[in-house]
C-alpha cells in the first residue's frame, strides 16, 4: 500500500478535499421534480455542502406557462458530494424535491 505521508500531516496539495466524494455516504437521495421547481434557489442557499449548483436556464424544463421562471438559472444536485441530508427537500416551498431511497 503506497501512502502519502508528510511531516505533521501537512497537506501541500490544495483542493485535495474534493477527492473525497462524500456522496458515497448517502442513504436517501434528493430528486428535483422540475415541473414543480420555481427556481427560487432556497435549496441552493440552505445546502450545507454545497451540493446544489446553479446551471444554465435551458438545461432543465421549467413549469408550464411560467416564461419568467424559465429565464432564471435552473438548479441541479451534485451527487458526487450530496450527503443526502434532506435539508433542501425540507426547505423547498413548493415540495419540488423528493427524498428517494438510494439504490446502487
Amino acid at each position: 500500500m503506497v501512502k502519502k505521508v508528510t511531516v505533521g500531516a501537512v497537506v501541500p496539495w490544495p483542493g485535495s478535499t474534493a477527492e473525497n466524494k462524500t456522496g458515497s455516504w448517502r442513504t436517501l437521495k434528493p430528486v428535483i421534480h422540475y415541473e414543480k421547481c420555481i427556481r427560487c434557489a432556497i435549496c441552493w442557499m440552505y445546502c450545507p455542502e454545497p451540493a446544489i449548483l446553479k446551471v444554465d436556464p435551458d438545461k432543465y424544463p421549467a413549469p408550464e406557462g411560467k416564461p419568467a421562471i424559465a429565464k432564471l438559472p435552473a438548479v441541479e444536485i451534485d451527487y458526487d458530494y450530496c450527503k443526502g441530508c434532506g435539508i433542501c427537500a425540507e426547505e423547498c416551498p413548493v415540495n419540488a424535491i423528493e427524498m428517494v431511497e438510494e439504490v446502487k
Binding site: V5, A9, T17
Partner: protein, 402 residues
C-alpha cells in the same frame, strides 16, 4: 554575559526573551504568572519585539500558540498545574502537527485539594502528549534549558514541542545568581526559526491539522515516535554546543559520585539536596551515588542503565505518582533496568507532594530503607515518606464504620 539576581520565573522569562519569540500567548497562573508578566512588560517597554496574545484560558493560550506556530513563527508560553491540565488536548495537537513550541512550566500540584505548591504531577500527567520534557534544578538551568529546548525543538530532525519545568516556589519565586548570556551570543546559538513543513505562504497553500483516517493515522504517530528517538541525539548535540558557546555543561542525565551500591535517582530542585546528602553520606563511608534526570522525555534508558551498572539498589525519589501503579519516573527506570540487564532492586520513594519540603532527613530515610532492602530485610516497593499514614487510616476507618 551579565550576572543578575533573578527569581526562577524571571530567569525563564530571560530565556524566552533571548530566544526572540515572534508570538507569546499566555494566561496567568500561580506560580508561573511572573513569566508572561515580565515578558509583557518588556514588550510594552519596547525592549522585546514580540506579539503578546492575552487569552481567556490556558486552552486558548496554547491554541493561539498552535495557530501562530503553524504560520512559521517562533512561539513561547508558560503555565502550571491546572493550566497545563486545561491545555491537555491541545498538547497532543501541537506535537501531532510537529510544531516546535516551547513552554515553561512552574511545576505545581493538581487539585483536589487545591494547592499552589510544588510537585511534578502536572508535567507527569502530560507525559504521553508527545512533548519533550526537561526539568530544571536551578534558575540558571531554567534559562539555559529554554534555549536548548528551542534548539532541539526547531531542529529539522525533531520538530517537536518542548516543556521546561521549574519547581514551584523553590525555583519560581526564589532568587539566585544567574548568568544571563548576551543577545548576540544567543543569536549565534539559536538563529531565527526557518520553518520547512508548516508555515503561512499564500503562494504555497497548504492544509494543516487535517483528518487522519485509519489508513493514515498510525504513520503520523510512528513519525512522532521516530522524531522523539532522533531527539535523543539532537539534545546531546544541542547541550554540547551550548557548553561550547556559554561554558555551562549540560547532559540529559547527570551522574554524581558514581560507583555506589545504592543509587538515588531524582529530578528537579531536590537534586541539589540529593547531591549534598550523597556527599555527606560518602564521607561517612556510605556507598551511595546519585543520578539527576534532566530530560524525562525522551528518556535515556540505555544511558541510565550505563550509569546504574554495578548498583545493588536503585532508589527513585520522585514528586509525582501514578495511582494504582508506581511513580512515573520509577516506571521508566524499571524499563531501563529490565531492558539493559541491570539486576539491582528498585525502590520508589514518593516525597514532596503539594510543596512538602524535601530535606536531608528524607534522603536519610531513603538511604536507611535502601540499606535494609540491600540486606534483604525489607521488600522493595513504593514508600511514601514524611506522611501521617496513621491519621489517613483513621479518617478512612471513620467512613468504613459509618
Amino acid at each position: 554575559m551579565v550576572v543578575m539576581t533573578l527569581e526562577g520565573n524571571e530567569a525563564a522569562a530571560w530565556g524566552a526573551r533571548l530566544a526572540r519569540p515572534d508570538v507569546i500567548a499566555a494566561y496567568p497562573i500561580t506560580p508561573s504568572t511572573h513569566i508572561p508578566e515580565r515578558l509583557s512588560e518588556w514588550i510594552a517597554d519596547g525592549i522585546m519585539d514580540s506579539e503578546m496574545i492575552l487569552t481567556e484560558s490556558e486552552h486558548s493560550a496554547l491554541s493561539a500558540c498552535v495557530g501562530a506556530s503553524a504560520t512559521g513563527a517562533r512561539v513561547f508560553t508558560a503555565t502550571a498545574s491546572q493550566g497545563l491540565a486545561l491545555m491537555h488536548e491541545i498538547l497532543h495537537i501541537a506535537s501531532g502537527m510537529r510544531l516546535p513550541i516551547v513552554m515553561a512550566i512552574g511545576n505545581r500540584a493538581l487539585s483536589a485539594p487545591i494547592n499552589i505548591w510544588c510537585d511534578h504531577q502536572d508535567m507527569m500527567s502530560q507525559r504521553d502528549t508527545g512533548w519533550m520534557q526537561f526539568f530544571a534544578e536551578s534558575n540558571q538551568e531554567a534559562l539555559d534549558l529554554i534555549l536548548i529546548a528551542y534548539k532541539v525543538a526547531e531542529d529539522r530532525r525533531v520538530l517537536l514541542p518542548a516543556m521546561v519545568g521549574l519547581d514551584a516556589f523553590t525555583l519560581t519565586h526564589t532568587f539566585e545568581q544567574v548568568d544571563v548570556p548576551e543577545q548576540e551570543e544567543v543569536d549565534r546559538y539559536l538563529p531565527k526559526y526557518r520553518p520547512v513543513h508548516a508555515f503561512l505562504d499564500p503562494e504555497r497553500p497548504i492544509t494543516q491539522g487535517p483528518l487522519g483516517t485509519p489508513q493514515h493515522y498510525m504513520e503520523f504517530k510512528y513519525a512522532q515516535y521516530e522524531a522523539m528517538n532522533r531527539a535523543k541525539g539532537v539534545i546531546v548535540e544541542a547541550m554540547e554546543e551550548f557548553g561550547r558557546a556559554f561554558g555551562r555543561e549540560y547532559a540529559p542525565l547527570v551522574p554524581f559520585s558514581p560507583g555506589g551500591e545504592i543509587v538515588l535517582v531524582t529530578m528537579g530542585s531536590m537534586s541539589g539536596t540529593a547531591r549534598v546528602f550523597v556527599r555527606g553520606a560518602r564521607q561517612e563511608g556510605e556507598s551511595v551515588s546519585h543520578v539527576k534526570v534532566v530530560a524525562f522525555r525522551p528518556f535515556y534508558h540505555s544511558k541510565l542503565a550505563e550509569l546504574l551498572a554495578g548498583a545493588k539498589v536503585v532508589a527513585v525519589v520522585e514528586r509525582a505518582f501514578s495511582y494504582g501503579s508506581v511513580g512515573p519516573l520509577a516506571q521508566d527506570v524499571a524499563y531501563a533496568m529490565h531492558r539493559y540487564g541491570i539486576k539491582a532492586k528498585l525502590a520508589n520513594f514518593i516525597v514532596g507532594l503539594g510543596g512538602r519540603d524535601v530535606t536531608l532527613r528524607d534522603f536519610s530515610e531513603v538511604l536507611e530503607t535502601s540499606k535494609r532492602i540491600l540486606k534483604g530485610e525489607e521488600d522493595p516497593g513504593v514508600f511514601w515518606l514524611n506522611v501521617a499514614k496513621e491519621e489517613v487510616l483513621k479518617a478512612e476507618e471513620v467512613i468504613w464504620n459509618a
